[in-house]
């Protein structure tokens, strides 16, 4: 099982390595989003510092949605899901493998966006451990939800518009929890950052369980 998961994830990362879409296109777009937020808030440094946690996660959501879109386009364009169905790889392994591939790409995106908010929004990091835990939990939750909805929208003609509509309501708690936990880590809010961070791990676990159970149903079609 682990072997299959790694096989799928490595395949996706190799595709990414050759095309360099994440680092070459999505990450710069994420940075642009950060700049545009500064326009929206009239470059008010205090507002940007207070909102940095939330703006980070919104930028991750925008960029991550594009990554998910792409991760499924490379499969459906060549009818790879039919090939998967005929191979011995089981649906739960495929689900976890795709999630791991997305996870690593979103981490790459965050490695660009993180310094972005520190430099552009003048953020101080008070609690590194909380920051890392929240980023890990939020990215895990994002990846598993994203793969679940990604496969659902994949293969439909309207996938580019459908995916965000399906994804954002389900990710709303993750955005909320990620923003609050980051604000605590940045020292602009004294509230239960760790509780918010744990909530994201719970969300990730719930969706991982659902995904492993239902991915087979979704694959039978695309």
């Amino acid at each position: 099982m682990l072997h299959e998961v790694l096989l799928i994830a490595l395949k996706d990362l190799r595709v990414e390595w050759r095309s360099k879409v994440t680092l070459g296109q999505v990450a710069p777009m994420g940075l642009l989003v950060l700049v545009v937020f500064a326009f929206a808030f009239d470059a008010n440094t205090r507002l940007l510092e207070l909102g940095a946690g939330g703006l980070f996660w919104v930028a991750v959501l925008f960029g991550g949605t594009l990554l998910i879109q792409r991760a499924f386009e490379v499969e459906t364009d060549d009818g790879n899901f039919d090939a998967f169905r005929m191979s011995t790889i089981r649906a739960p392994s495929l689900f976890l493998g795709k999630s791991l591939g997305i996870f690593i790409q979103v981490v790459l995106l965050e490695l660009v966006l993180g310094p972005g908010i520190v430099l552009l929004y003048n953020v101080r990091i008070d609690d590194w451990l909380l920051l890392l835990a929240a980023a890990l939990g939020g990215t895990l939750a994002f990846s598993v939800c994203g793969v679940l909805w990604g496969v659902m929208a994949a293969g439909t003609r309207v996938r580019a518009t459908l995916l965000p509509l399906l994804l954002v309501p389900i990710l709303a708690p993750v955005l909320l929890a990620g923003s609050r936990a980051f604000e605590t880590a940045f020292g602009v809010r004294a509230e239960a950052g760790w509780t918010w961070a744990s909530l994201m791990f719970v969300i990730a676990a719930v969706h991982a369980a659902v995904g492993m159970g239902t991915f087979g149903f979704l694959l039978e079609e695309s």
Binding site: T156, L166, P169, I170, R180, L199, F217
Partner: protein, 250 residues
Amino acid sequence: MSPARGNKYMTASPATRVLGVVAVAAALLMALLGLIVSPADVVQGQAVRMLYLHVPSIWIAYGAFVLTAVSSALFLIRSRRREDSGRHHDRLAGAAAEVGVVFAGITLVTGMLWGRVTWGTYWQWDARLTTTVLLFVTYLGYLALRRLPADPMIRGRRSAVMALISIINVPIVHFSVDWWRTLHQKASLSVGRRPEITGEMYWTLLYSTLAVTIVASWLIVHRYRVIRLEELRDEEALNALIASRLREDE
């Protein structure tokens, strides 16, 4: 829940015609009780009359979404056991979700108008309002997914999985939003707490819930039948297409 025997293309049957008459009568009596007979509230004044629509609507919305989830689970179980079986569960899921979205929308409209009078503003980031708007958008997405052209079984399975994930998410969304608003700005939330409802208002509310449930049942039954008609039409179109192809081949 199939239409009357003998005219299979109709959405009406004697039983649902009776249900329709009862629904209209119940709705008219509800308007009479809610708008004229029941008194204005001491604290909320006339605005309390909005709750006779608001509270039953959210109950119907939640009830319909639970019905969607249960039907979807049954559909997945049935269709796994035997290909092409359990499609009535899928239809029921679709019909209930659509009616649920209609009533979630009504909940939002009446809630905002109620808030305008009671809070002085249309929108508060109240936990329940926020949860409801997210629920509304989630099921709009569900309906969008259902509308995509696909093989009925494939579409059924896909939307069934989405219905299950969506219902699992309801407590997560509610919990996190509730937590967000109670950890923060306690005062504004207490404005939104509804005062106790007693006496005539209580009975009016209870009756309104019954009346709205009857209306919603009528809507779900008929929507179910229309979905069945849509499927029949799609099958017929497909068969016609196959027949014309076969003729071309000859």
